[in-house]
């Protein structure tokens, strides 16, 4: 039962089994999993919103109503021709009857339309990205040709989509921050419990001249280690979940709404780092606060 002093290394001062460590680890893993997914989701939702806003801002839709003896297709073709000449328009294309019917089919079956009522014809206008056309110029060009048409200003929707995207980003980041805060709160609570459970050790250390910072550092280190192990598990689980999501492909409904890319998975990395930092800081501060109440 002897020890070779030349080969001795210090053992961990805190007992290996602090109360509630398994539950704390499990909770930190779950919170980190959710925080990592929230960060990945925030990036994807922002990208989706920007993509939609970009698509909307770069185009306009024109609803053409045929009048007189002119057929709807002829009116649409004339409108497309007039719009193509407007400065800032890259392309103006009249949708065919079947394309217009396909767009409307979600809302009404064209076969159900009363006799003599045609599906309105649409002209899609793509703008020059550098110098996009003004909506007023489009309207003026159509009026000059005597075409009865309504120009839909997509900019109205662009701002809405941008705001929604930014709101989703803020909500996801707030959620991630709250989860990291929850890790901190749990670690602080566990450190206080640990401080009480290890009261004998704390007393022995203090009587031996340990500064409060040294004792608090033991708890900070222990909970940082615990949080690191749990957070890595949580972040890895989030990576697997996100990878499965990416693997679904862009055709799946969810993947189309939330376009997660492989590069987004890197956003899972800060979650465990922040969780470890929060756990260590909170545990250290809680231990210091507890120690400050001792003589």
């Amino acid at each position: 039962m002897s020890i070779d002093a030349s080969r001795w290394r210090p053992a961990p001062l805190l007992p290996r089994r602090l109360p509630g460590r398994l539950w704390l680890g499990l909770t930190i893993a779950i919170l980190t999993f959710m925080a990592a997914l929230a960060a990945i989701g925030a990036q994807a939702s922002l990208r989706a919103a920007r993509g939609w806003a970009g698509e909307l801002a770069g185009s306009a839709s024109v609803l053409v109503r045929a009048s007189g003896l002119e057929s709807p297709d002829a009116a649409a073709a004339r409108a497309a021709e007039a719009l193509a000449g407007v400065p800032g328009v890259a392309e103006a294309r009249a949708l065919s009857a079947s394309e217009a019917d396909a767009l409307l089919s979600r809302f009404i079956d064209p076969k159900d339309l009363p006799p003599g009522v045609w599906t309105p014809r649409l002209v899609t206008v793509a703008f020059n990205p550098d110098r996009p056309a003004r909506i007023a110029d489009l309207r003026a060009a159509l009026a000059a040709e005597g075409i009865n048409a309504v120009v839909e200003d997509h900019a109205v929707w662009t701002n809405e989509v941008r705001r929604t995207g930014e709101g989703a980003l803020a909500a996801a980041l707030t959620l991630a921050a709250l989860m990291i805060a929850a890790v901190a709160a749990l670690s602080a609570f566990a450190a206080r419990q640990g401080l009480e459970a290890a009261a004998g050790l704390v007393g022995a250390l203090r009587l031996s001249g340990a500064a409060d910072g040294f004792v608090a550092g033991l708890f900070a280190g222990r909970f940082a280690g615990l949080a690191a192990a749990a957070a890595v598990v949580g972040a890895l689980a989030a990576l697997v979940a996100a990878a499965a999501f990416v693997g679904l492909g862009p055709d799946e409904t969810f993947a189309a709404i939330l376009p997660v890319r492989w590069s987004d998975l890197a956003l899972a990395a800060p979650a465990p780092v922040l969780a470890v930092g929060a756990a260590a800081l909170a545990a250290g501060l809680a231990a210091r606060r507890g120690l400050s109440r001792l003589p």
Partner: protein
């Protein structure tokens, strides 16, 4: 290793008494005072016993010296420093000049005997490469050279007591305080422990032991501070040399 081969403890600050109690009162929750106006001074390098019946305030005196309790009123000076007036940050370095052996030992069940002694070095901020040989040597000195890897639960009461003593002196304290260090051991071991204390005293360590073991106190020949109902009823002139 004998205590005599250890380096002498550094001299207390400018020859100031190691401990001074000046009209110290301790009263818990507004009840009857545990200590009622206790005053005494211990010269550096002296050896004293604190005696008295159970509940007379012996342990409280030691806890006050260890800064584990605070007095309700009065002043306590350690090595010339008024510990009732200093901040928490200043207490830790002052505690490193003390060695404390409390009744319940304060040994950590999850640490080996070696690590229990090393705990004091770590608390004092020493580097493990610097003290590990010293720990082994000290454990040998207290007769635990063959029990270094044992956990406290596997040690006898006497071995635990010697382990607590080793931990208390590993940092070469200037003042060693012990609460009933022979309370759980037989006479032979009590005398052996007393010898360890006197060896330390001979190299300049001020020693204060709380004990109700009249036989041990008488054998030591050391002066006593006698407490009765929280009052000091005897305080002889301090002596440097005590019988072994």
């Amino acid at each position: 290793m004998g205590a005599g081969t250890r380096a002498a403890a550094p001299a207390p600050d400018q020859g100031a008494p190691a401990v001074v109690f000046d009209d110290v009162v301790v009263r818990f929750d507004g009840g009857e005072p545990v200590l009622a106006g206790v005053s005494f001074a211990l010269a550096p390098g002296s050896f004293h016993f604190v005696t008295g019946a159970s509940g007379s305030g012996k342990t409280t005196v030691l806890k006050l010296i260890a800064m584990a309790e605070r007095p309700s009123s009065g002043r306590i000076r350690l090595f010339g420093r008024d510990v009732t007036a200093i901040g928490k940050a200043e207490r830790a370095p002052l505690r490193r000049r003390l060695g404390v052996v409390f009744q319940e030992f304060g040994l950590q069940d999850h640490l080996t005997a070696f690590d229990n002694v090393a705990l004091a070095c770590r608390a004092a901020g020493r580097r493990w490469r610097d003290y590990r040989a010293e720990v082994a040597e000290l454990l040998g000195w207290v007769g635990l050279g063959g029990r270094m890897a044992a956990l406290p639960a596997a040690l006898s009461a006497g071995e635990r007591q010697r382990l607590a003593l080793a931990r208390a002196v590993i940092n070469r304290p200037e003042l060693l305080i012990a609460d009933e260090p022979t309370g759980a051991v037989d006479n032979a071991l009590a005398l052996r422990l007393l010898r360890l204390f006197t060896d330390l005293n001979k190299v300049g360590v001020t020693v204060l032991i709380a004990s109700h073991d009249e036989d041990l106190v008488a054998r030591s020949g050391a002066p006593r501070l006698h407490l009765s109902d929280g009052r000091l009823t005897a305080f002889p002139a301090p002596t440097r040399e005590v019988g072994a």
